[in-house]
Subunit: 213 residues, 4 copies
DNA sequence: TATGAATGAGATTTCATTCAT
DNA sequence: CATGAATGAAATCTCATTCAT
């Protein structure tokens, strides 16, 4: 068996997934610190010690989760595909839809990782560098592109990007804080947010056109 | 000395504040769990045991912080004062300015409490009921008021409210995640967000007027 | 390995016994509260934490001791075996011999548990219900039996029972208080007590016979 | 004010009594270790620190209680008064009545001190030397006296003494263990015990007379 | 003398991690 | 690889005692 035996590799990956799934559930229910390795092992149906064959330590489980979240989120390709064909508004609508959907589908992940991502600078840096920054950069560049084409103006693209991401993470926040309305009317809320962003862009575009005249 | 002796009361309050300040700093730097009672005591310049003369236990420090944050935030009166004199856009601008300012001034508090507020349902409920819900309700009612006056239309006031609060908390989130731009260009960002919201409202209002014709 | 694996079970029982023995010695020497978990662990030759794999907490060690004392004391069967063949005096002699012997052989246990059995109502109830009450009831019923056969009279069997048990526990008490004579002349004392009880019964029986005539 | 100022002395004694009473109640209810100095101070209606003006430390409260119990129990004089006038049986009856009565009247004291008296060798020695030993010695000597007068025989006076005291402490024990019958039928039980001891003595005396003939 | 806030030593308990089987 | 008992560091919290007022 070579060190890259594909069968063994698949087994290892399956085990890692099994453990991570158990950990996500536990962390999201009880928080990182109140969850014990025993809790995770029980839920995964394995022995405590086995976890240490797949993860360096408890903290490493969190790191793996952040990485997995980052990998789970291929905003890039989707956006790039659309970028050539659509208007700014369409792109931003799509981003909002896509991200908000992703987050509510993975609410357990969010509850599991965000407390630690906020609290631990190491994890924070990882999340920012591997997930947030690339995605923001992408949207930013796209907006720059449209600005240069005079399709939109006035608003600094870095600020606009941050407003969009603020709406995304803010929505997640409201959901995590248990706001019933945001939870129960998710699709209406997503529509509303999209309309809102579209309206703002349209308005500002109109303004800039007027100014340009 | 009666149980409500004012001098003693002031001393007690001062001690509580001294301890809470030390705790906020430590929690925001190292997180709730990695901060020990000894850490807090040292930073406050007192003995470990003294903390327990002012707070029931470590968790009680968190609860006190959440309560203090809620008390620190008199959105209500401010909004109500303005509500009679200004336009919707002005009100929302004010809310955004006010809340975003408050949050970045209390970033330590945010870093200290949010990980636990997300992770602990008890704390979450306290934060939601005492801070978030009343403030959202207030903005919601104000929007309802303008809707009835035909000053704005189309957008469900509950959704609009949530978008505004999402922008607020989302911005806080980006800041807590260490987004340099949001931190370094706070005032520009606040301006941008305000402009954005104004533009969206204006646009939607225009739409509704057209529709109404 | 099933949850009732006999080998594992034996190992667990052995560990529990090892820990309990260490605890009994320490408790009897220093008392429950002055004995630390570390003391017990050291004497048992294990780590502090290991104790908690076998006992819920420190108090649980006391409970286990009381239960063990109760199980250690099969007065019942012994008495019942004899009841058909012997006289009252023989039975009571046997009970005295048996109990006094048991107690001085387990003086460490007595010193370990009685302070807590007296002080804690929960433990007191357990000791009374599982050890004292059944044994007293047994003697009581036996005396009732002889009373109905006219073999003895006059004395209320519940009172007689309590006198016998008072002698037993009182002797234990004197021993625990360090009365040298009671300790050094145990067998003479046991003989004396037996003679004493026999004499009392004989005398009262004689009285009742005279009265009956 | 001289160091033996009687007024001051009386005040000091009153304070000590006040504190000790509070301590006895608390110790008997919650046990020595679960009772805090604060508990005692509250019940006595004074401040924590004040207790330390009257007692060296918490342990000293126990010592004071044992001394007080010893002083409370003037068996000596009573016995000595009677010794010249009465029979052995009367004396022993009196001793039983007196001691059993004393103990049930001071059940709180018993519950407060015995757990510690058993557990702490220092306290045990004090109790034995100052309370138990003198009283046992007294009864012993009295029995010796009657033995020499041929009023009684056969039974070793040291053993007889211990049986009597075993009955006394054993009764206390049953009471402390919560035996309802012993508690509710105290006087019947005391009568029974007296009858029992009388009967035993009478019987043994008869035996010895027969043997002597 | 009385007070009660401050102290800090010390005990219990938890639990991540290791490692022999 | 899997297991889970053993480990012991570390943290919270209590409370007897002190001492400035």
């Amino acid at each position: 068996m070579s060190p890259t035996d594909p069968v063994k590799d698949a087994v290892v990956q399956a085990r890692r997934r099994q453990i991570l799934e158990a950990a996500v559930i536990q962390f999201s229910e009880k928080g990182f610190h109140k969850t014990t390795i025993k809790d995770i092992a029980r839920r995964a149906g394995i022995a405590d010690g086995t976890i240490y064959n797949y993860f360096k330590n408890k903290q490493d489980l969190m790191v793996a989760m952040v990485i997995q979240i980052a990998e789970l989120a291929p905003l890039m390709t989707t956006v790039q595909e659309m970028a050539t064909h659509r208007s700014v508004e369409d792109i931003l609508s799509m981003v909002l839809h896509n991200r908000l959907g992703l987050m509510s589908e993975n609410l357990s992940y969010a509850r599991a990782i965000f407390p630690q991502v906020i609290a631990q600078s190491e994890l924070r840096a990882k999340f920012y560098d591997e997930m947030l920054k690339p995605n923001m950069r992408l949207v930013e560049q796209m907006l720059e592109h449209y600005v240069q084409q005079n399709a939109i103006r006035t608003l600094d693209s870095r600020i606009a990007t941050r407003i969009v991401f603020a709406i995304i993470f803010g929505s997640l926040f409201l959901t995590m804080l248990g706001d019933d309305f945001a939870i129960e009317n998710r699709s209406a809320f997503v529509e509303g947010a999209t309309t809102f962003v579209r309206a703002a862009l349209a308005s500002m575009q109109a303004d800039s056109e007027e100014t340009a005249q």
